[in-house]
Symmetry: C2
Subunit: 414 residues, 2 copies
């Protein structure tokens, strides 16, 4: 099968990736020169695709392709165009550029639909500069928290000042907000950032939900002691206790039919000397599940398990919730249309949750949300090795274009 | 029971502890002003106890109390008088000061024995300054490694220069060595540095051996990944693997009838972010047992277990031995005499290994070795909270004095 839109998309992905703070590895941060250059390029592609464009007060790029008549509500397509540091080039741009290419194809064919299409490129989803994520989509959803304007970057510059220096007026951010009546749905295509589609040998998948996450900080306090002189049965070894907790968390999630994932990513044992029994250990727990109810049950089960371990080992346990994100379910009526489009392109329909966060987490406040995942090599993301085959980029574009052309607003009879 | 030598010993412990680099917490390091001041005080106490004294070329304090006639071989008693940083005041000095007090008691009673007694205070056992332990006892045993003269302290001063600045000539260190024919035995009294005697409710114990130690550096390499997007069954989580290893090491040692102790004191997980599956983990293993044969078997068993864990989890394992100390068994004929003395003082005989290292590890090369342990509070050591009750110091002195007065050289019939 020859590439339909894949070559164009991959070419544009590379052109956009050339706009980077560092020449070897992609880094494109909110409210920088690279942000502006990337926006200019994206806006030019949007114009070429027949869209009216706009650069909003938070730095999002917005393009509108009118429907059969002006002022119709829109199907909104989007993703983000900022990156983490030393990033891959697909995370964000693939969804945005694919959407532009789909609209360009409609435009080329002079195809108008009974609804408008808007394509939006969010200025900051990763939250690298001000340690606050989803800035672009929160502005559009009307949930931007003005307190983050006082957040400072590593150079001590506040977001407020950075916006001014960039030529944007923080007082106008409210005007970037859209209302529910303007949107028929929000659909985002994105790389999976995980290895599941690759394991399934499928180029695309239907996202069931953006998993909510709970992050916990745990600390266990026992008694430090000499590695040679304290017999095993008289020890209160905080690291041995933490190890048992880590094994228990993994075992819980591996066997959890509700499908949670749990990760201990950080651990610190004190005093940390080869010949001293650790007296105190801190570690984090990141727990995600496809429903809030299930995640909350899983958190409670895991906390109970580590409480039991601590009690049995006579360790003092402290557990605090440091972060919590609700689960964003994808709308069943939209999932059904995504599935139809996938079937229409000849692929098996496979559903999977998104463990990573996406702009849909903000957009759910003003629209029903759906996501299409595209396979990425080895599940690698946030890394220069992030890769999507041109054939998969093409498959994603075919599915998205079919989805757009066959789109029926909620409640519409077929 | 009123204190016999306990008050004198505890008083001297406190006087010696006042000689410290810092006023709040005891720190007494090799070849410093505090070393010299402590040596002067100890030599004065030795002289008062009727001993001929000598300050040898490595900075040891040596006192000799002649037997029934001059030039008899000696029973050597000793311990060290350097400390770790922010140390307790008992680790080392208790054995040295108790030995001096015992000799002082013999001297007061004009009691001469059919052998000489030598008391030796080793200048550096802890190895704080030059990261090389047992310097004093190695010089006496004739196993001092001249290459360590080139070792430098944190200020960049070599041991050779430090010796010169202190007024000692490194060329004379060889003359500090003693020969096997001069020594009938080496006996050291020391605080236990562990909680076993306290748990046994006993003031003193007989040491069976100074446990050998093997230290391993292990690293596990899996695959880093997004904490949300990689399903549990597709993970190669290096920290979950390390946790399973830590639990297995603890379980092995807890159930090891051979009596090994194993400690993972240090762990480092990379990249170490809350929301990233650790791709690589380094940790240390400290393993000790009362015989070299058993320790070597235990090391092999543990390595096999962690190899199995790594293989099952598809993690790359690297294990290196970073340090190895042979086991020093205490001589059965000496242990029998220690036990007799303990029984003679009305205490139950209890045997325990020494998990910590001691000067006997060097002295074994020129003499049979025995050790008497004295209970310390909570097993705490290398910490200002290190504490010995005066009654236990007294019990230790009574046992040591009885041991000296009833001492029969090896092979002597009762």
């Amino acid at each position: 099968m020859s590439s339909f839109l894949g070559d164009e998309i991959v070419g544009r992905i590379s052109r956009l990736a050339a706009i980077s703070e560092t020449s070897e590895q992609l880094t494109r941060i909110f409210l920088t020169e690279e942000h502006r250059a990337a926006a200019d390029l994206l806006l030019s592609w949007m114009r070429d695709a027949g869209m009216h464009v706009q650069f909003d007060a938070i730095g999002n790029v917005c393009g509108r392709y009118e429907g059969e008549r002006p002022a119709l509500p829109c199907l909104m397509l989007g993703s983000h165009y900022d990156s983490v540091r030393e990033a891959g080039k697909w995370d964000g741009p693939l969804g945005l550029i694919t959407a532009i290419s789909c609209v360009a194809d409609l435009h080329k064919r002079e195809r108008r639909l009974p609804f408008a299409i808007e394509v939006i490129g969010f200025a900051d989803e990763e939250g690298v500069r001000f340690a606050s994520t989803l800035l672009g989509s929160r502005a559009v959803a009307g949930t931007f928290d003005e307190r983050v304007l006082d957040a400072k970057d590593n150079a001590g510059i506040s977001m407020r000042d950075a916006l001014f220096q960039f030529g944007l007026d923080p007082a106008h951010i409210g005007a970037a907000a859209r209302s529910r009546s303007e949107l028929l749905a929000y659909i985002e295509l994105h790389i999976e950032q995980g290895p599941v589609l690759e394991a399934q040998n499928l180029p695309v998948g239907v996202v069931t939900a953006i998993s909510g996450a709970t992050r916990l900080a745990a600390s266990l306090t026992g008694m430090a002691g000499h590695a040679g002189t304290v017999p095993m049965l008289l020890r209160r070894d905080a690291l041995a206790g933490a190890a048992e907790c880590i094994v228990a968390i993994e075992e819980f999630c591996r066997t959890d039919r509700g499908g949670s994932v749990g990760t201990v990513g950080y651990i610190h044992a004190m005093p940390g000397a080869t010949n001293v029994i650790p007296g105190q250990v801190s570690f984090t727990i990141d727990l995600r599940a496809v429903s809030d109810a299930h995640r909350n049950l899983a958190v409670a089960d895991i906390v109970r398990k580590i409480e039991d371990i601590a009690r049995r080992r006579k360790l003092l346990l402290q557990v605090d919730v440091t972060h919590e994100n609700r689960t964003v379910p994808c709308a069943p009526w939209l999932k059904a249309q995504v599935s139809e489009a996938i079937t229409g392109e000849g692929y098996r329909v496979f559903e999977l949750p998104s463990g990573a966060g996406h702009d849909g987490m903000a957009m759910i406040d003003i629209a029903d949300v759906a996501m299409v995942f595209v396979r990425c090599r080895g599940g690698i993301s946030h890394h220069p090795d992030e890769h999507v085959d041109v054939a998969d980029a093409d498959a994603g574009a075919r599915v998205l274009l079919r989805l757009i052309e066959n789109f029926r607003p909620r409640g519409t009879r077929e």
